[in-house]
Symmetry: C2
Subunit: 219 residues, 2 copies
């Protein structure tokens, strides 16, 4: 039995964020499926033992239980620093730069990207209706502004926090992957450095394993 | 001249978050005022040199420049670990618990609290009209649910991440302080452990210095 367990769903963006990190670190783990359709994550056992906010994923590592995907990833990167890809590294100054771009992902990029992912990709899948055009338009404009800043940044360095791939890049993967299958792809493609960065990070073998996992779970 | 500079505004919640950390760490710093009314933070110099997203605060520590208040605080806590109050500490597991509750603040608490702060406190001050009742009602309900979970958590430990004050608590201070002067105060007061926690963290000498700074800046 693997020491590390992830309670989640391989198609949920937040779960995918954690799976990508585990694959990058070459760690063995068990994915314990949470049945979102029956609302398993809102039931007393889940709320009391795994996440009081009723969201996925939750990580178990021995007797440690953690929720919030970005906090989980930071823990994995620190605890297993010597394994697989280095994802949060360097002296305090270098780590701070990675930290800044992790916050940018969470507060600038994801606020627009997650709404677009919902409207254009997940809403139809979950049978929750058609995309709200006004919401899409507003958030495409917001995302475009963020990506203009990314374009300048990525003209200076290969990755957001410098010349090496880090958690700051990795945290973008789930939303980017969903959006590449929608009209929002044009926002990435029309910016040269962003386009190259997207091609680079989505081609990482660890990310391919996450997609493979998600794909298999559909059957 | 202080080695540490904060470009910000002493009445902005995000700037206050950083000032609270600097005071807790007993570090000397210079606050370089950014004139929000004239849109100084949207001008080329600010965008090119301090924060491409045109937001405050930005920290300068020697030749290092950082934006995003939570990333700045994490850097200060790590870089000046040996000074003043310990704010992010322990082994990787302990740090991970602090990390989880820092993410909870950012993604669960603040999304409701910042909207309420804007509607009930800042909007009238900036002459942007009266509070939108529907927005207030929706976010009060959202905040109440979050505070129910905080109540359970704080019944188990004095602070969110354990028995010691940490960045996870500190990051809540600006919004809590603004909301205590509004009708939202009742949501804190009606929950025993939350009320005691709020009283404890808002009484910290470092936080009093932040308020004093904000107060003086009005004149």
């Amino acid at each position: 039995m693997a020491a590390i367990k992830v309670h989640g769903n391989p198609r949920s963006p937040a779960t995918q964020r954690v799976l990508a990190t585990l694959y990058e670190k070459e760690l063995e783990f068990e994915l314990v499926p949470v049945d979102m359709k029956t609302g398993e994550h809102k039931k007393p056992h889940f709320l009391n033992c795994l996440n009081p906010f009723g969201e996925i994923p939750t990580l178990e590592d021995g007797d440690l239980k953690l929720f919030e995907s970005r906090a989980i990833n930071k823990y994995i990167a620190d605890e297993y620093a010597g394994k697989g890809t280095r994802l949060a590294f360097g002296d305090n100054k270098k780590k701070a730069i990675i930290g800044v771009w992790m916050e940018v992902e969470a507060h600038q990029f994801e606020s627009a990207a997650s709404k677009l992912t919902w409207e254009l990709s997940l809403k139809p899948v979950f049978g929750k209706g058609t995309p709200d055009k006004a919401v899409v338009e507003k958030n495409e404009a917001k995302l475009a502004k963020v990506l203009d800043i990314y374009e300048s940044r990525l003209a200076q360095s290969k990755y957001l926090a410098g010349e090496s791939f880090s958690l700051a890049d990795l945290h973008h993967l789930p939303s980017i992957q969903y959006l590449l299958a929608t009209e929002v792809k044009k926002l990435f493609d029309s910016r040269l450095h962003v386009k190259a960065w997207v091609a680079d990070i989505t081609a990482r073998p660890a990310w391919c394993k996450v997609l493979c996992h998600a794909c298999r779970s559909k059957h």
